[in-house]
């Protein structure tokens, strides 16, 4: 029978009609595919029924099954509906889980479906978890970590008896992180269990994802199984996005570089006042704090109506802010990216983006937050923090039209995650190594795993490491009499369960008032440098540091009005390749005036200045500026590949120049280019440029030029934690045995000296090369440069293009006042020199 004619389908349709809703085509498509046994990926933006696309598919299926049962049962006696877990809904966002559960319960109630919807994650109370163990709800909303925790329990094979479907919500979010690998592994185990116990069962696996550049691959990663039919369903909803740049009255008002466009803050106030609710996005948490202060200084009336919200702020405070915004208590919120799991607000009226969002996907996600219905046009304001950012605005506009969106690279061969997983299984029901090897080889993350590597990992968890000698007294995973590998020590099992899901970057400490009340979280590295009595800002408040007690930072309200804003290490996003590409294109268009962008019109004088004193690079050109000033000999290059790549490239070029003759440099960079500054003339000519920027010998030269060991050591911090070598403090929850305190750095040294073939050590270097160094992107950039025409400009004063780089390098050593004065002087000097040049040329 056709799906549309089935009872289940009709019931759902009439229910939707009752609520004055009509299903979108992508939703009914999803229901159809689901009914036909497909797995796959639904591509839909947040807030427009993506949940219903799969949830209702599962519901329809259940309703139809019951109708079938009833018709057969009426011939025999009444059969009771079988309870048990039918749908696992993986979501990375704990804050969303409650909302999801509520929405799903509503559906079940109104359809009179007697399903229980449960949530299981770090916030779930113990009593609730025990209830679930006794009787699993039909729908379980869960995080990847909690899925592993389930697998770390005994007798888990019973849980999945009735399972029909696993959904990975926000899959674009999980993809590209180790949590995605955790999801892949958990799915592989559950599928393995089902094949054993219910080989006739068809387990459907569905992902729900926002648009990214590699949708096909995203589906492959989630559903690598060749025995499953799969498809991608795209929502036809295209949100119209209008981007409006906030321009100063005159271009002179916008600095060539540097200080954060606070001068435009006054233009933001009317925008906030004219909207009911506004979200103001900044790129870093430090900037969020600064802008919060600036806006309050601009308009005192905002006090009490403006809040600040970023990942470091306490979860309860975040929830309060969210509710207050929608009830109208708050008018506007300054916040940071939602792409890194901090925030997921319901749609607001207006969105403001301060500074370049650095990437297309991020920008579209944020823009999507404005406008309450799918057919409404989203309006997003862009506030440039320096003149050149206006070109990025133009580039973003084009990207939004063409949907040129970045890919999320899946993580492969993360040995630390695999180690954690195996110990998890050993803590639970134990595992058969041959069976599990086969299972994990089916996942995308580990399909390339070699038997030797698998053996090393097995050895690592069973005998301690070295293939030649068993480690004395090492005890973790052992083979028991029933042939399975298990953890027999209760202490080790308990420690492992407490420790699952530790994916940490910098250790974060909770910040609390001495008299009580949480403020937020702050990096341990920032606090470790603070002296008692000094002040800092967090969550928009100025706080005085008292002391650290039991992994909590105690503070009190500071008497100062301003203080240093903690600069979060994780804050600096880099220009993506997609955006860099578009940027180079826009630079072309500005001078040719072939564009329709008002931003480029506005900035034209700056480009004309650049053309006059130097050159505006075309898409097929590579610009190098050699500038001699009283500060020294400057070498500026503009690859437009983002700050992260430039950091490596700059060190690489410095190293290669150093091979020509001994010379030392100080280095600066931004998203457009980099600078090498020396006291001596730089041995750079037309003849050797292509060689300097050659992709030959790249890996060796990178290793020689940067401190790869330090980068690997930093990556190793997470790896040591995930693989169980080191325990990060859980504030208030778990204090490590004082005899077992150690650091990841210690293990890095120990392995480097005594166990060079350690796979975790290798993983840290691999991660450094692919994630930090971005070697593929660097190589591609160098190839592009080889194919470009090199333009070398020699001049005696700073050009508009080099300005932002120069200023950025000064930023660390100066206060904001000193910096803006210095910028003013530099600008005046440059303009004076140009006018003088012009005068001489006019003769």
């Amino acid at each position: 029978m056709k799906l549309e004619n089935s009872k289940g389908y009709k019931r759902v349709l009439s229910w939707l009609k009752l609520n004055k809703k009509k299903p979108f085509k992508f939703q009914t498509d999803a229901w159809q595919y689901y009914a036909e046994g497909y797995s796959g990926l639904v591509n839909a933006p947040t807030g427009f029924g993506k949940t219903y696309s799969i949830f209702l598919a599962v519901v329809i299926d259940e309703l139809n099954k019951r109708v079938e049962q009833q018709t057969t049962a009426s011939k025999n006696k009444q059969k009771k509906n079988i309870t048990g877990l039918k749908l696992i809904w993986i979501t990375p966002l704990r804050s969303l889980a409650k909302d999801l559960a509520r929405a799903m319960r509503e559906v079940c109630d109104e359809l009179q479906l007697d399903w229980v919807v449960g949530v299981r994650n770090g916030d779930t109370p113990q009593s609730e978890k025990l209830k679930q163990k006794k009787q699993m709800p039909e729908v379980l909303i869960i995080t990847p970590e909690s899925m592993h925790l389930l697998l770390a329990q005994k007798s888990t094979f019973n849980y999945f008896d009735q399972l029909q479907c696993i959904v990975a919500d926000e899959w674009h979010e999980l993809l590209g992180s180790k949590r995605g690998v955790m999801a892949e592994l958990a799915i592989s185990r559950i599928k393995g269990l089902l094949i054993e116990q219910h080989p006739e069962r068809l387990l459907r696996i569905w992902g729900i994802s926002a648009t990214i550049g590699n949708m096909e691959q995203a589906m492959e990663v989630l559903v690598p199984y060749t025995d499953l039919l799969k498809t991608i369903i795209k929502s036809e909803i295209k949100k119209k996005i209008v981007i409006k740049s906030i321009l100063p009255d005159h271009i002179d008002m916008l600095p060539w570089a540097g200080h954060l466009g606070h001068k435009l803050a006054s233009k933001l106030i009317p925008i906030i006042n004219n909207s009911k609710t506004t979200l103001i996005f900044t790129n870093t948490r430090g900037q969020a704090e600064l802008w919060y202060q600036t806006l309050l200084n601009q308009d005192e009336n905002l006090a009490g109506l403006l809040a600040i919200h970023h990942g470091s702020i306490d979860y309860e405070l975040r929830n309060w802010i969210e509710d207050a915004l929608h009830s109208g208590v708050l008018k506007a919120v300054v916040c940071t990216s939602s792409l890194d799991l901090g925030v997921d607000f319901k749609p607001v009226d207006t969105v403001v983006q301060i500074g370049s969002p650095k990437g297309v996907a991020r920008f579209l996600q944020r823009a999507g937050r404005s406008g309450h219905s799918p057919h409404e046009t989203s309006k997003i304001y862009f506030l440039p923090t320096h003149a050149l950012e206006l070109v990025e605005a133009a580039a973003i506009k084009e990207a939004a039209k063409t949907q040129d969106i970045e890919s999320r690279e899946p993580i492969v061969m993360s040995f630390d995650t695999l180690i954690q997983y195996l110990v998890t299984l050993a803590v639970g029901d134990g595992f058969d190594d041959e069976k599990i090897f086969f299972e994990i080889k089916q996942t995308h993350a580990f399909r390339e795993l070699l038997p030797q590597e698998w053996n090393w990992i097995m050895q690592f968890i069973t005998s301690g490491g070295d293939s030649l000698t068993a480690y004395n007294e090492f005890s973790k995973v052992n083979k028991t009499s029933d042939g399975l590998w298990k953890v027999e020590s209760r202490q080790i099992a308990m420690r492992h369960r407490l420790h699952i899901g530790t994916i940490v970057s910098d250790a974060m400490l909770k910040v609390k008032y001495l008299k009580g009340g949480y403020v937020g979280m702050i990096e341990e590295s920032f606090i470790s440098r603070m002296k008692p009595g000094s002040s800092f800002t967090l969550a928009g408040r100025v706080l005085e540091f008292i002391m650290v007690k039991e992994m909590t930072v105690l503070v009190k309200k500071s008497k100062l009005k301003q203080a240093i804003s903690p600069s979060w290490m994780g804050g600096r996003m880099s220009l993506t390749a997609n955006l860099g590409n578009l940027l180079r294109k826009k630079y072309n268009e500005t001078l040719d005036k072939q564009h329709g962008d008002e931003e480029l019109d506005f900035i034209l004088p700056l480009f004309e200045q650049q053309a006059k004193v130097s050159h505006v690079p075309k898409s097929d050109e590579f610009l190098i500026e050699l500038i001699n000033t009283k500060d020294g000999y400057h070498f500026f290059a503009y690859p437009f590949e983002g700050r992260q790549v430039h950091e490596i490239m700059a060190a690489l070029i410095a190293y290669r120049l150093g091979r020509i003759q001994p010379i030392s440099f100080s280095i600066a960079m931004n998203d457009y280019g980099f600078e090498l500054l020396s006291e001596q003339p730089i041995p750079l000519e037309e003849s050797n440029i292509k060689e300097l920027f050659s992709p030959t010998n790249l890996t060796d030269d990178i290793v020689a030029s940067i401190n790869a060991t330090e980068m690997a050591r930093r990556k190793f911090r997470d790896i040591a934690c995930i693989s169980g070598l080191v325990f990060q403090g859980y504030p208030g929850k778990y204090v490590a045995n004082k005899h077992m305190q150690s650091s990841s750095s210690l293990f890095f040294n120990v392995f480097s000296d005594y166990d060079k073939h350690n796979l975790l050590l290798r993983q840290s270097y691999d991660e450094a090369f692919y994630q930090q160094i971005e070697e593929p992107r660097l190589a591609a950039a160098l190839h592009r440069i080889q194919a470009s025409m090199i333009i070398i400009v020699k001049t005696e004063s700073y050009t508009p293009l080099c300005f932002p780089i120069k200023v950025d390098s000064l930023r660390d050593n100066m206060s904001s006042e000193e910096l803006s004065q210095r910028i003013g002087r530099m600008t005046a000097e440059s303009e004076k020199k140009t006018r003088r040049k012009k005068k001489t040329n006019d003769h």
Partner: protein, 213 residues
């Protein structure tokens, strides 16, 4: 590197030990024998070879200085007897004539009989040999004795150009107290803040160098 401390000549060796020629005494701290085995018992994969390496380094020092006494300012054993201790027993047999003296530290929890069997003379709190007081954790009070202690596992950061920096274990000689680096390779570092009048000697892979404060 040889330095003068309260009129006594002390040789600072880059295997993290001090040799006091006047008393033919080799002074180390925080040996933590048994630490790696302790971790392994708890399911953490620390290589076997660490303990052997530490003992090997001691042997090298013995050969270089030929001391009559080995003085350890605390934390000789990490927790309790385990397989690492056996290695020490064998090592001890090679140097039967050596006097081994231990000033107890917070990790030293063996029974008195165990120390006797190992031929170690134990001082519960401190040992005074003018002009020095040997103690595990540096005391608050200041008197005529110059304190030589351990416990902290001191380290120092040396800064280079372009925000580069390197961390090294170090010998710290302050106004009233010196702190020895932790002898064992399997220990972390606590970075100390150089103050006026302090002397820091960083232990680099090649040699011991004085750090300018």
């Amino acid at each position: 590197m040889t330095i003068d401390c309260k009129g006594e000549q002390l040789i600072l060796n880059n295997e993290r030990a001090i040799y006091w020629p006047a008393r033919k005494m080799l002074i180390i701290s925080d040996l933590h024998i048994g630490k790696s085995a302790h971790f392994r018992k708890s399911g953490i994969q620390v290589p076997n070879s660490i303990n052997l390496t530490d003992l090997q380094r001691l042997t090298t020092l013995m050969a270089e200085f030929k001391p009559e006494t080995l003085l350890i300012t605390g934390d000789m054993f990490h927790n309790n007897i385990n397989s690492d201790t056996n290695a020490f027993v064998y090592w001890r047999k090679n140097f039967a004539q050596l006097k081994v003296v231990l000033i107890k530290g917070n990790h030293d929890n063996l029974k008195d009989e165990d120390y006797d069997v190992l031929g170690i003379k134990v001082y519960q709190k401190e040992l005074l040999i003018a002009p020095f007081r040997f103690i595990h954790d540096k005391p608050d009070q200041v008197d005529e004795y110059y304190n030589i202690s351990g416990h902290i596992h001191p380290g120092v950061i040396i800064y280079g150009k372009a925000k580069q920096h390197l961390r090294f274990p170090c010998f710290y000689f302050g106004q009233n107290c010196a702190v020895l680096p932790a002898f064992s390779v399997f220990t972390g570092l606590k970075i100390l803040d150089p103050k006026q009048g302090d002397r820091f000697y960083a232990i680099t892979p090649a040699k011991v160098i004085a750090v300018k404060t």
